[in-house]
Subunit: 247 residues, 3 copies
Amino acid sequence: MSVKLVIALFTDFGARDPYVGLVKARLAEHAPAQQVVDLLHDVPDFNPHAGAHLLAALSDDFPPASVFLAVVDPGVGTPRDSVALLAGGRWFVGPDNGLLSIVAARHDDTRLWRISWLPETLSPTFHGRDLFALIAADIARGEFPSSKLSPTNRLNVEFDAGDLARVIYIDHYGNAWTGVRRVQLDARVSAAGKPFRHADSFGFVGKGEGFWFINSVGLLELAVNRGSAAATFGLKIGDPVQIQRLS
Amino acid sequence: MSVKLVIALFTDFGARDPYVGLVKARLAEHAPAQQVVDLLHDVPDFNPHAGAHLLAALSDDFPPASVFLAVVDPGVGTPRDSVALLAGGRWFVGPDNGLLSIVAARHDDTRLWRISWLPETLSPTFHGRDLFALIAADIARGEFPSSKLSPTNRLNVEFDAGDLARVIYIDHYGNAWTGVRRVQLDARVSAAGKPFRHADSFGFVGKGEGFWFINSVGLLELAVNRGSAAATFGLKIGDPVQIQRLS
Amino acid sequence: MSVKLVIALFTDFGARDPYVGLVKARLAEHAPAQQVVDLLHDVPDFNPHAGAHLLAALSDDFPPASVFLAVVDPGVGTPRDSVALLAGGRWFVGPDNGLLSIVAARHDDTRLWRISWLPETLSPTFHGRDLFALIAADIARGEFPSSKLSPTNRLNVEFDAGDLARVIYIDHYGNAWTGVRRVQLDARVSAAGKPFRHADSFGFVGKGEGFWFINSVGLLELAVNRGSAAATFGLKIGDPVQIQRLS
């Protein structure tokens, strides 16, 4: 069984809009043998900070040598830099606006390159298709594009790589993900002025009851059994979460 | 032309959330040569009953030997069983909570196995990724995982395999699918207190007019030409439909 | 690097419904080696006119010999014709209701065929799966289905192939696409009674400010930096846009 290299798409392009399809048309031309996986296209709009925490948690779950095309880029077309990086054995390509900074900081072996190349045609509003997809395709094909990249020592924009005690994602069930990792089960967690109890999973609390758990990518998540934590507690992206660690 | 085996995903994970991408990362590692098709990720949340009727109707439309990864699993992480089954020449893997019971009951050749294996890492909230995807991948690669399965004679949870005269799905147009099959065209159908006439397709009734038809997977569906039956008649998942068969 | 032929799906089937998965099951059987790309499944419902302008703009961005399965088909099941066509080196298959007429008119080399074949099983509400997918698969496999097609000189339904100065799509950010191409940067643009200034991209205007730009597929688009043009200005599909060309 030969493993097929994965190109994972992580964007705020929206799952219902044509942007993802346009990117995939480019990848079909430039990396036809690789497998493209839609990881997330609903990163909170215009929010590289939430996106950076999500990407760091989600990408750990992918096979070695996966290539992440990561684009949450409200500054597209303005003079912000773009970068490629290798961290934890996986590749990341995207804007230098902080989006890749947390995954970069959390690995010891991180190597960084600034993208110095410009394609012949570059839409000022769609570098995801015209620039990042082509660099990601080169890497995914195993043809590292040295001539298009310059090694660098640091990113221009770096977010704090520690935990973020805020809501960073709300899924369609209404579960609220936070940017907090490694919480002991005796911690006291509250949000929206209410305490949340711990449970391992949904079926261990009553219907409609709120609780917190460590989710499948290692983040503290607030949920309601068979209901929506966001609707029940009025939670939204950016809301603070209080965590009192007892051990 | 060699036929590529299909792994079909049927879940309530949501088309916009990262859960499907995390499952696909596992499938890319463990079944890299198979083709993954997103069948439905908006099975009504927490509703294995509606899901069971949808799965039975939709799966009949897939090629022989397709493998369905079917997960609507509000009890994930609690001590409910998980199963693999072969029915009508297709494979199904998922929780033993009724979701697979209708497809199992509607075929004569159904064979059942309880999943007795646990993976090294098992998130209490994401058996779809950590357990079901791996079993589905084994089967899809043609390496039946005998050591991970025990033959069994029956499911723990079985829904009535007859028709369900209720709304089981509402699509984005607002069309309301029911769990009713094989209705003669002279049947009298009503819902939300209103009679519906029969038409073969949308263009045979006036704009804004309601009607019923047998949809492309054999289920009775309520619709409005160029409009939303759900909005027009206030229909929602679980609403009863009255059917008076005249022949 | 061998290029894999792309089958692009362009429909109003909805990204969250099971219709796309049912089409892909057919394509997996009949064109297993080709790559299927979801271009857009949220073409405005029942609106072949907006769809025709979107398709003409979006398809230009795809590799030569791509095959478009294009279905926005409120008249499905009624006696409207279906067609296959080759335009600009790409293939298109769908209903003869105007949806393909703009891409046909905008290329000099367009060749048209009427689909004269009927499959054994044909759902009156889902020609996308039962008819168009099979024709598209034949073409994508390189086995042109001459016996299923009759050459023809013109489409039954033809929309004006010039620009359409109306909103034809609203994306999830709230950006409003129009059917207008090739506007000089000194043009005066207004919509919803408000003038819009030009900017190359989002980051060049203030947060919350409206502007217009030429988008990544060549269409004039109305947007708000880090906000929704649709919500800010009350824009919806079909709304007129005023363009005064000064040069």
